[in-house]
Amino acid sequence: MTQAAAPAPRRRRRLKLATPALLGLPVGWLVVFLIVPAVIVALYSVNELSLFPGPHSFALGGWYRLFHSGFMSLFWKSAQMSLIVSALVVAAAYPLAYFLALSGTRRKYILLLLLIAPFLTSYLLRVLAWKVILSDGGVINTFLVWVHLQAHGHSLSFLLYSRFAVMLVLGYVWLPFVALPIFVTLETLDFRLLEAASDLYASRLQAFLRVTLPLSMPGVVAAFLFVFIPTVGEFVTPSLVGGQAGYMYGNQIVDLFETGFPDWETGAALALFLIGVIAVLTVVFVRFLRIGEARAA
């Protein structure tokens, strides 16, 4: 360390004292409005707190119902839907990001903005657009009748209020965003590695499979989780376009809290289970990134 860079002791002390003062408010905010609420949810899930007045004590009824009342199969259904959406969306976004990052096109940032712009607009309104398009009397069905591809009264009713509708809309909503993390990893890829592979007589496919794809895996996994995490707990899209068939785990949580027969105890257990699954996934992902970094170093 050079002398000029070494801060005077007094200033260093001032900086040190300042750090807790700076972090106090944001950390305090998150403790009060994120951590404490989570603890309260946990207390509800074991009946230490209860919606209903009167005596109540520690009980695991909520957790018992979570595992024995069909909620698990609903969770698997939601997880499957999310997995399919995430996988398809990542598979579609990869070539887009690859094209932008590696084709040497000069307008890549403009094209990237073009791709992402829909993501920046209202979520609810994009879902609305699909409702207009897919409904029985909607754009697709009336268009098909209009051009005589379809007879009156024989509308394609699977289009709306189905699993298909939920998955289509979720994919539509998340596709633009997912290209971003993949683009970033491909963008920072050392192009000389590809040239070296080519010099060593690797075909383009071999170079892709053995150099580009492994190096871009962190971006791919990040992209996958960026879709999976918000969609597995989703309730807005299924409630608008899902109907009974597209009902997801998130809808169940909402219903346990908001219907005429609320069951906050079970609802809290469902919510905590969802957080637990996501926490495990996130931790595994961060580990995976660290291992990747260590290997690269």
């Binding site: 900086l15 300042a18 750090t19 700076l22 972090l23 944001p26 950390v27 905010w29 998150l30 409005f33 994120l34 609420p37 309260i40 949810v41 509800y44 070539p95 887009l96 094209f99 932008l100 590696l102 084709s103 040497g104 094209l111 791709l115 712009a117 920046l120 607009t121 209202s122 979520y123 309104l125 994009r126 609305l128 657009a129 409702k131 909607g138 754009v139 009336t142 268009f143 009748v145 539509y172 633009p176 192009f191 590809l194 592979a197 080519s198 383009r204 170079a207 918000p230 707990g233 989703e234 807005v236 608008l240 949580i253 909402v254 809290f257 906050w264 969802l274 957080i275 996501i278 996130t282």
Partner: protein
Amino acid sequence: MDVALSRNGRRIMRVFFALVVVFLYAPIVILVIFSFNKGSVPTFPLTGFTLHWYHEFLTNSDMQAALKTSAIVAAISSVVAVSLGILASIGLSRSRFRGRGAVTTLVLVPLVVPLVVLGISLLLLFHALGIQLSILTIAIGHVVISLPYTILILLPRLEQIDASLAEAAYDLGAGPFATFRRVTLPLILPAVVSAFLVAFTTSFDEYAVASFLAGSQQTFPLFLYSALRFPSQLPQVIAVAVVVISLTIVVIVAAEVWRRRVETRLEAA
């Protein structure tokens, strides 16, 4: 030889890219078309051009009240989120201290918490504390959602600027506030504006958490959601959709272009 893409591969990818862009924009274009369509249901064939639906939503007082509520919630929550984000980012950029990793994790956790869980847990908190739901409770929830985004925008910018500038200000006798206002803030201003816009639009568009935390006053997304159940309101909702979507695209693209320009200028200086 191009090692990344063959000529045919490039051609196929270009077509694929174009198809995806069509897929992404087609629903929006369809909304635009039907917002000018005379018929009161969005069906083919089109029945003629009208501005009626735009006129109708401009005179719909419920919708205007909802827009105003959303603007207030977004203003409060984005100012609070950016202020907290600035504090956290300066604190995190400045030094390596014990617990830095834990703090970083904590401020990023809201990114992975499902909104339904966040909404319900805050609802239970306010219920336990006996706090009445209002626009303030929505704003509190929105701060939790946008705080990580503001930090992700501000922290890289703070780490870019030369720490010796702030130290020089200290050496010249400036206090922490003067240093922040006259040295740090001007340098990070473009990032602050970006963070503010992201927080504002996030809040303005947020439905899930607001649906649990709203009192008697509806925000705009809550209004939209309830309007979707009444087919008679659909055409004017489509007209609003067109206005809102175009406005957000214009504002965000303009802000991004402006930020790039200012930051290049600051770097040149």
